[in-house]
Amino acid sequence: MAITYEVIASQTLGSDTQFITFSSIPQTYTDIVLITDGISQPAGGGSVFVKVNGDTAATNYSSVYMFGSGSSVSGGTGDGFPANRHNATALNGGTGHAHFMNYSNTTTYKTVVSHGGGDNISILFASTWRSTAAITSMRLQMESGPGFLTGFKATLFGIKAA
């Protein structure tokens, strides 16, 4: 039976770091899925922003989001490419799940749909990278603050459609 859901790469941090990078992403899948779990900074939590193929131009990224705190709902737009969201609380960093659709095609812009949070927030993102290039690498960084703490785990999976 064909394997349709495979690990591409996984990283568990042995020390605090500002960036987590996945490079040389194979082009043999239909979609890719990024799962993150762990504690990050800044204090109070923040979103994981993804920079694709070394592209740091803010004008090439846009997003819409909505979140609930358990008592209120809010939303907005931004110029980042957020994937997930994590906290800085000891033992309680949160988890995130980001799905990059049709990442290797060279005819459309790239879209990611994601959900993340912890015990203090549930947040949904829909984001776009305005490039028709295939995604071959991605660099994760927190939207602000120093980054990811020891023990943070990021795993990239590939999903085949056939």
Partner: protein, 166 residues
């Protein structure tokens, strides 16, 4: 070995069931995913599914972000992980959802994300995005799902999958 493996399945028979339980969960995966389809005996349109671990009902907190077709809301729900269809909804309809628990065997608190929906074609329906934690450093060895009210009805089911990250 496949990355995404089925560990166990539960299906509710005639007469219903107070819970759907996965026990003796091996610690050999990185993450767990539950696919659930559920309907309960509560005399309403929809009702919470409570999610607990290792036979305990404490140290659980959740945040719902949900819409009902008319408005968007957020609530804190303790042990709830999402909604199922309940027994005043049209017959033969079940709520469905996906629950993901990352690093379930690790030494941090356990983080959980879930989507559940209760579309029922006739009355108020819900789409719920949940973020939750179990504030325990223990590895998860069993999972208990319980309706907030009443029992799970026949044909409710859940499948547990293990995800390897290497």
């Amino acid at each position: 070995m496949a990355t995404y493996q089925k560990i166990a399945s539960v299906s509710v028979g005639s007469g219903g069931s107070a819970q759907m339980v996965f026990s003796s969960i091996p610690a050999t995966f990185s993450d767990l995913i539950i696919h659930v389809s559920a309907r309960n005996t509560y005399a309403g349109i929809a009702d919470d599914i409570l999610l607990d671990f290792n036979g305990t009902t404490t140290n659980r907190t959740s945040r719902y972000l949900y819409g009902n077709g008319a408005s968007t809301l957020s609530v804190s729900v303790g042990r709830g992980i999402g909604l199922q269809v309940s027994n005043t909804a049209p017959a033969n309809l079940f709520g469905v959802g996906k629950i993901q628990i990352t690093q379930y065997a690790g030494s941090n608190y356990k983080s959980i994300s879930a989507f559940t929906v209760t579309e029922n074609s006739a009355a108020t329906a819900y789409a719920v995005a949940t973020s939750a934690i179990w504030s325990s450093t223990a590895a998860i060895t069993s999972i208990e799902m319980t309706p907030s009210t009443g029992t799970f009805m026949e044909h409710s089911s859940a499948d547990l999958y293990g995800i390897k990250n290497s």
